[in-house]
């Protein structure tokens, strides 16, 4: 029995494919892309994809699944359901759980839980330092050996330059990328939003743009000096973009990612003190947003990620200063990126799809991101005309902390297929 996805526009940037075609899936792998008219038997399953986009399964290299230890916010089960609803077939889980994923045991736990309860593929990211406390290197080689796909202390920076340099050297030795949360902790201290006009108006403590750029500059210099692979998480400022662009010109192995909320919102959206807008790095200015768009347009930034950061409703139902940072982002990423990048022509459709599939896969050396024959059948089907108003009714993540409730967005994932198994169809998660 085969699964056919019929008549959709197949976009597979990894293979330079952009055409109306059918996809045949057999035994969990891509059996081919072609016109299979006449080959279908009564036992086969057919998904009509006419008018829709058929792309490799989306890959998010930056999300927080919160398990172990913070299951009230999210579990691997709920987080991967949210991922499936958002069209993602694979997600990379940041290590800032409780305990921090800083050992072989932590990595194995995530793989085991994902196998038992996950709906999509989960790849653990290990911590750079023990407990992510920035003082001593974690057992990165051991973690790499049992499947950690990258290393990061995300959620906070590695404040000491000497430790960051050691981390970059060690990651380079084991062939992995360091994902850096760039933030000068002293400059950002006690800040809750971007420092600028709106922090002045609202009387909230600001986080200057320089707090990010200073660390981007430091980490680029360190990576350059040791020849390591560096990836900058959630790039949010124009100056960070400039630094990355200049470093790439010099040949530094540095990439960066952009999150949907940094494109869709600015610091002006904090007016009203809605804690759903409290995110780290904070929502920046129009100028920063334009710089991110330009960087995605010219290829300086090549990866789109969610920084899905679920929190409980109780934690966010408080004064702005006291709320935790984070937006629950897996379920709205595609339509928000679509509105901000595809509709205004900032990115071509193939380069946009690449930024959510093959680019993240290649950067971290993950399987997937392609519809090549023989590859695992991870496929996402998008209806570019489908509109939906964001409500929490069908929300799969435990984290209901989204500032996009009530917004009507266009272009939504309508089917998610993982290893040939349909886990989301017609916006409903299956399984």
């Amino acid at each position: 029995m085969a699964l056919y996805i019929k008549g959709g526009r197949v976009i597979d940037p990894a293979n330079g494919i952009n055409k109306i075609a059918d996809i045949k899936i057999e035994e969990g792998v891509i059996a081919g892309i072609d016109d299979f008219a006449g080959a279908i038997t009564a036992a086969d399953e057919v998904i009509d994809a006419a008018g829709k986009l058929v792309v490799p399964g989306l890959i998010d290299i930056h999300c927080h699944l919160r398990e172990p230890g913070l299951e009230a916010k999210e579990t691997i089960a709920t987080g991967t359901r949210a991922a499936a609803r958002g069209g993602f077939t694979a997600v990379c889980a940041m290590p800032n759980t409780k305990p921090v994923c800083d050992s072989q045991t932590g990595v194995e736990f995530i793989y085991n839980r994902a196998k038992a309860t996950g709906l999509v593929r989960v790849y653990p990211i290990g911590a750079i330092t023990k407990g992510s406390d920035g003082q001593e290197l974690a057992e990165m080689a051991d973690m790499a050996a049992c499947g950690a796909v990258a290393f990061s202390d995300d959620g906070k920076p590695v404040p000491r330059s000497d430790i960051m340099r050691l981390g970059l050297q060690y990651a380079q030795m084991v062939g992995k990328v360091i994902i850096s949360h760039c933030e000068d902790p002293e400059l950002a201290k006690d800040g809750v939003m971007h420092e600028g006009y709106w922090s002045t108006v609202l009387g909230l403590r600001g986080i200057p743009a320089a707090a990010e750029a200073i660390m981007v500059a430091r980490d680029i210099l360190l990576a350059e000096s040791v020849g390591a692979k560096l990836h900058i998480a959630h790039v949010s400022t124009a100056r960070s973009v400039e630094l990355i662009r200049q470093a790439q010109w010099r040949g530094v192995n540095v990439t960066g990612e952009v999150c949907p909320h940094h494109l869709a919102l600015t610091d002006a959206d904090v007016e009203g003190f809605n804690t759903a807008t409290k995110v780290n790095p904070p929502l920046r200015t129009d100028k920063d947003r334009e710089a991110l768009r330009s960087a995605l347009n010219d290829g300086t930034l090549t990866i789109l990620a969610t920084d899905h950061a679920p929190h409980t409703a109780e934690e966010k139902a408080c004064e702005y200063n006291y709320a935790p940072f984070g937006i629950s982002g897996l379920e709205t990423a595609w339509p928000l990126f679509w509105r901000e990048l595809v509709e205004p022509g900032v990115m071509t459709l193939p380069s946009f799809v690449a930024a959510m599939t093959v680019a993240p896969a290649k950067r971290l050396g993950l399987p997937g991101g392609t519809l090549s024959t023989g590859a695992a059948a991870d496929v996402t089907i998008i209806d570019p005309e489908y509109t939906e108003t964001v409500t929490l009714e069908n929300w799969q993540s435990k984290g209901k902390n989204t500032p996009f409730v009530g917004q009507t967005l266009r272009s939504w994932p309508v089917a998610t297929i993982v290893g040939g198994r349909v886990v989301m169809r017609d916006r409903q998660v299956i399984g």
Partner: protein
Amino acid sequence: MAWQHKDLLGLRGLSKQEIELILDTAAPMKDIIGRDIKKVPTLRGKSVVCLFYEASTRTRTSFELSGKFMSADTVNIAASSSSVVKGESLIDTGKTLDAMGTDIIVIRHAASGAPHLLAKHVKARVINAGDGAHEHPTQGLLDMYTIKERKGRLEGLTVTILGDVLHSRVARSNIWGLRTMGAEVRVCGPSTLLPPELAATGVQAFTCIEEALEGADVVNVLRLQLERQKKGLFPTIREYARQFGLNQERLKRCKSDVLVLHPGPMNRGVEIADDVADADFAAIEEQVTNGVAVRMAILYLMMGGSGSGAVH
């Protein structure tokens, strides 16, 4: 004209007419404060809760007396002696007060936006009595009332706000209110105590006090929060006093009929010299009296009173 909003959360966004309504209503209220028997039945049967998460003498007492002078039942809650110490959230505290039939909650809180959060979750009307570094609208209104009383107008005046603007909710409410009423607003302080992009709020920012005072009609001196020095935001209190303290010599740069305001409590000899604070051209005590009048006006208007109505 009647008050159109459920709450009073800030002066940003209020219209000139709305501010005028409050200031005009405060005038007859001030008469009541001057009477031997300071009691009118206007708000009989209404309840006002002062929910204070920060220490306060003048604002809390001012609101309490405002309510009492108009026969409202007023209750004070200090967060340090309430369920807040048991971990109760602001929303739950608000809902509890709501369920008890509170008509108005007056809230002071160290976190900017706390009154906005409360207002979203309670049926009671909410008055912001100071939230973090955001706004202190009743202080802004009483400052404007005092200026208008002394100068006869607000439009066209030059008002210099002096001191720690970065952390000052008084400064922000003054900026919005005075700008709406047509005054020119200057702010002055050490560069480390001036927030970014102030010019975009329509004010002129100075770090030289002499320039900031040149030709000013009014100087509003902010209280220097001395703990800022411990955080290294300026080198020493001594230097601050020498560079930014308001004294008689510096005041000569202002108009000859300058008016000096201070929201209190004052650090005498630091941000303001003794002989300035006690001079006739300073209206610091009058501000306190006017604060009661303005708060009476707000309570009255928010409980459905009309600006043109008599107060008996």
